[in-house]
């Protein structure tokens, strides 16, 4: 029988248990946090007194696997060469070699997330057709549990259902699709706009009321119908929305319209920073922040959540399922560009990008991201993200933490920006500093709640024993970039800041119940439209994958 592990005397910061720095022992057994034994038992004790103990962190929006991520690696050898990662031996195993550009190789991705105390990550945009590729990559990511959101916002079957008002058909299709491809949540990317771009080079959906040619539905209808169906299916994370007009000056109005269209339904808006721009004329300096008005709406609607998509300065790679956006970005940069249209489902765009602090637009994007963290009153409604690698690498999370916890540091950084930014952003007026508990919310407890992961993001009994121990440091960037200890599923992976062992993660999927009477008609539709047989689509042959799949129980069922 597996013995107990006792983490003794740590300063526990667990917002779910409302612990904000009390010394407490944590008992672990069988990969889970358990109640302290009532009688004397054999156990191993690790003394973590004086150190901060939090749940393992969760990155709820990143791009780490799948064809577009891998193509980004393939097309940027100059980045891969810049920071090679060496093979190293552990006491019981090895750390594979790799490369660390803005898009790290797959083993390095796992090791680096571990090194920051992250134990769960979600890839935010996998086309259903690319699910098999994504699962093969996931198999290789060590140490972290993973899952993905699958793109549905331009899916033909789904738009046909919406056009004929067939809500139950849409619900069945969504249930079928999530099961078939092993996805965790549906993702809407530029609803209708990607399809229009595939139809013609100037095509895009600029307005939520614009009709999608050939289908007669609007982005608003897509957003509302998918969100309604996903909530009805009781998905742990109903819907993840990248709304229309990302990155376009004046897009805040589309964003506000999107928030209003959700009309009380539970939903999440991704990388909201990129959707919060005022302005709109050809003049570059017309760009301004519209975070205040959007954050006020979020503050008034607790069912809505956002992740930020913080921009950091330096070289990175833009990658998106938003095909027309990819086209737009490469026209701006003139750099190499990868685009892939995926039949009946989606598109994508990949292009290198560099954010510079002296560039007005880039600096304003940086400021707008921080405004979001500081203007959303309830930290449970905002999750930390850089939209890795779009705004910057996930490796920048400790720097963002310091920017939020240390207003003097923030001011020093602001002073280095293009000065015009402060005329268009209220960042300099914001004095708020995050507490450690609030950081714990936006990096683990909040994402877990938003994702419906009841067994993650906290240190209560029954939670996964995914735990991070930090050495207190007044420089919060230092504190968070080198955890003293990281535990995954009860096994100590990082000790004294070094990786000691690796473990296999699990793949989290939603696996909802749905009306299966429609399966045959869905399969028939598939056969007549796709360029492959439905039996070779997704993970029907789940035994091809070595990694363990874990179905996350729907929210209502777990409450009952």
């Amino acid at each position: 029988m597996e013995s107990f592990l006792k983490l003794a005397g740590g300063t526990v910061i667990d917002p779910v248990s409302k612990m904000a720095g009390e010394a407490r022992d944590i008992w672990i057994r069988g990969g889970k946090i358990v109640s302290p034994p009532t009688e004397s038992v054999a156990h191993t004790t690790i003394d973590v007194s004086g150190r901060a103990v939090m749940a393992g962190a969760i990155d709820m929006h990143c791009h780490i696997a799948g064809p577009k991520v891998n193509t980004a690696r393939k097309m940027e050898p100059e980045q891969q060469r810049s920071n090679p990662q060496s093979l190293s031996a552990l006491e019981d195993g090895i750390l594979h070699s790799g490369s660390l550009g803005s898009v790290p190789s797959i083993f390095t991705t796992g090791y680096r997330y571990t090194g920051l105390g992250y134990t769960t990550c979600f890839d935010a945009a996998i086309p259903p057709l690319a699910a098999r590729h994504a699962h093969f990559e996931f198999e290789q990511i060590p140490n972290v549990d993973t899952g993905f959101f699958t793109m549905v916002g331009n899916n033909h079957y789904l738009m046909d259902c919406i056009a004929r008002g067939d809500e139950s058909g849409l619900q069945s299709f969504l249930g079928w699709l999530m099961n078939r491809v092993g996805a965790f949540a549906p993702k809407i990317v530029n609803p209708g706009g990607v399809e229009l771009w595939k139809q013609s080079r100037n095509g895009n959906a600029r307005d939520l009321g614009q009709k999608v040619d050939g289908f007669g539905v609007t982005p608003r209808q897509i957003i509302q119908s998918v969100t309604r169906a996903a909530n009805a299916l009781d998905l742990p994370h109903p819907v993840h929305i990248h709304t229309n007009n990302l990155g376009i000056p004046g897009n805040w109005e589309t964003t506000l319209e999107t928030l209003k269209a959700l009309n009380g339904m539970r939903a999440h808006l991704a990388h909201i920073q990129f959707h919060s721009y005022g302005g709109g004329s050809e003049e570059e300096t017309s760009l301004c922040s519209k975070v205040r008005v959007l954050a006020e709406y979020v503050n008034a609607n607790p069912e809505l959540t956002v992740d930020v998509g913080q921009v950091l300065f330096g070289e990175t790679t833009s990658m998106t399922g938003d095909g027309p956006l990819g086209y737009y970005l490469q026209k701006v940069s003139g750099k190499k560009w990868y685009s892939a249209d995926t039949e009946l489902e989606s598109g994508c765009g990949v292009s290198p990008i560099e954010y510079k602090n002296k560039n007005f637009i880039h600096a304003l994007q940086w400021a707008i991201g921080l405004e979001w963290y500081l203007l959303v009153a309830d930290p449970w409604q905002v999750a930390m993200s850089t939209d890795h690698p779009n705004g910057g690498s996930f490796l920048a999370y400790p720097q963002i933490i310091r920017l939020l916890m240390d207003r003097e540091f923030r001011r020093e950084m602001v002073a280095q920006l293009n000065p015009a930014v402060l005329k268009h952003s209220c960042l300099a007026d914001l004095d708020r500093e995050y507490t450690l508990s609030e950081i714990a919310v936006i990096t683990r407890a909040g994402p877990a709640r938003i994702l419906g992961l009841k067994h993650k993001g906290h240190l209560g009994v029954g939670a996964d024993a995914d735990i991070c121990v930090y050495e207190p440091n007044s420089n919060y960037q230092r504190m968070f970039e080198l955890p003293y200890m990281v535990i995954k599923g009860g096994r100590v992976l990082v000790e004294d800041t070094e990786i000691r062992q690796t473990v296999e993660g699990k793949t989290l999927m939603a696996n909802p119940s749905y009306d299966r009477h429609r399966n045959e008609s869905i399969e028939n539709w598939f056969s007549s439209h796709y360029s492959l047989q439905s039996e070779h689509y997704g993970i029907r042959d789940g035994n091809a994958f070595r990694r363990q799949f874990e179905s996350v129980v729907p929210t209502k069922k777990s409450d009952s």
Binding site: A65, P67, N70, T71, R73, K74, M75, E76, P77, Q80, R81, P84, Q85, S86, L87, A89, G93, I94, H96, S97, G98, S99, G101, P104, S105, I106, F107, L129, A130, R132, H133, F136, E137, Q140, K198, Q199, S200, R201, Y327, Q330, K336, W337, Y338, S339, A340, D341, T342, E343, L344, V350, S351, H529, Y530, S531, L532, Q533, E535, H536, D541, A544
Partner: protein, 420 residues
């Protein structure tokens, strides 16, 4: 009535996955295959899996032991021929390369690499086959002959919607099976192919600035006139697609490959266009994917310093053999040894014959250690990548209890770890 099970054909990189095979039927012939597919499924199968050490039958454990020993004794092993393996076995191969500090490459040859260099310079605009089928009103075959190399391609991208027409255009140096069914054939020699592309791009650039004139200046040379004809075709398309193969044998720099990528990219400033390389290199695309997600680089990766390095073709299999930088080789090939040797360049051939060899092969091959593998999609299962980068599972038609290459490779890796 239960639908018949569908199998995937690995006869070419189209991976047609609608093949029906009834193993109990009298003739046992697969349905829905093309000529290549029929040949593929008609390959003779071994009834038993036999491994060899120094030409003598050996147990799997003995062969694993010998292979591991050779790799341990090697100062600079080379692993190649990944294009013949499944995704799973390619992954296992990379893990060996990592721990053995080996060089690893997708194929034996430097040919056909230009498209990746183009991706790294320009990028790529592409689509899946179904997208081309449902949208493409103009399909161009650029120096390729799919009727021979990918016989079911046209069937698979031809629109079923009879209200929509799809124009087929072939650009190449000679009449082929595909030109016979094309709406138009534009003849150009390989030597003039690059010049044609430059002219097309120049005329398109002028067109972008002055949409009403094609071209802005009078055409004077034959190439300019041909280019002008081609431009007229291109700009009329609503969603064009170009299937292409490498025109020249120059592996390091093929200007037409770069130019095709740039052309497709710039056409998206006028209309929608996508491109797809008509690959003929088995499962090399999957191998590039595996090497990329594992090491960061798609091919020719050296791990001698304990981390991945890739500099053009410096560490390709062909270069490593030509320059005698490897002292043992672990490879996969479905060719006979003599045929494989014949395909290597002179200097590479001599070194290949001189060094210890560990082979994964479908049939007996003269090597220090030989592991017998099945034929993918017939008596061996595993993942493969279609030419449009879709991952598809190959199933076994014939059940057997053979140990698949990925399991053997993992045994070798475990042996290396145990003795490191």
């Amino acid at each position: 009535m239960q639908k018949p099970e569908k199998f995937v054909c690995a006869g070419c990189t189209l991976l047609c996955d609608d093949i029906e095979i009834d193993p109990h039927a009298a003739n046992g012939r697969p349905k829905n295959t093309c000529a290549l597919g029929s040949q593929y499924f008609a390959q003779p199968l071994s009834s038993t899996q036999t491994h060899f050490v120094d030409g003598k039958a050996a147990t799997l454990e003995q062969a694993v032991q010998s292979a591991s020993q050779l790799l341990r004794e090697s100062k600079s092993p080379l692993i190649c021929g990944l294009d013949q393996l499944s995704t799973e076995a390619q992954q296992a191969s990379w893990k060996i390369a990592d721990i053995a500090r080996a060089t690893i490459d997708t194929t034996f040859t430097n040919r056909g690499r230009a498209s990746i260099f183009s991706l790294q310079k320009t990028g790529k605009v592409t689509a899946t086959l179904g997208e081309i089928k449902s949208r493409s009103d103009l399909v161009i075959f650029w120096f390729c002959d799919p009727e021979i190399t990918h016989p079911r391609l046209l069937e698979r991208i031809n629109p079923q919607d009879t209200n929509r027409s799809q124009r087929i255009l072939v650009v190449g140096d000679q009449e082929t099976a595909t030109t016979k069914i094309a709406n138009r054939f534009i003849q150009v020699s390989p030597e003039n192919a690059f010049e044609l592309l430059v002219n097309v791009r120049n005329q398109l650039a002028l067109l972008s600035n002055k949409p009403s004139s094609i071209p802005a200046k009078a055409c004077v040379s034959d190439i300019e006139i041909t280019a002008n004809e081609l431009v007229k075709e291109l700009v009329c398309a609503k969603y064009g697609s170009i299937f292409h193969q490498q025109v020249t044998e120059n592996s390091r720099f093929d200007p037409t490959s770069d130019s095709i990528s740039q052309l497709i990219r710039s056409l998206n400033d006028i209309t929608r266009f996508v491109g797809l390389k008509l690959r003929t290199d088995d499962n090399a695309l999957s191998a590039e994917n595996v090497l990329t997600w594992s090491s960061g680089f798609p091919f020719a990766v050296n791990h001698n310093l304990g981390h991945p390095r890739q500099h053009g073709l410096e560490f390709s299999a062909e270069t490593m053999l030509q320059t005698q930088q490897c002292d043992a080789i672990l490879f996969t090939s479905r060719l006979s040894l003599s045929e494989l040797v014949r395909r290597l360049s002179g200097a590479a051939r001599a070194h290949f014959q001189a060094i210890p060899k560990i082979a994964f092969s479908t049939h007996t091959i003269a090597a220090n250690v030989q592991f017998q593998m099945g034929i993918p999609g017939i008596n061996e299962a595993g993942e493969r990548c279609r030419l449009d980068n879709l991952s598809l599972p190959l199933k076994k038609v014939e059940s057997n209890d053979w140990v698949p290459p990925e399991a053997i490779l993992e045994k070798i890796r475990q042996n290396l770890i145990a003795h490191s």
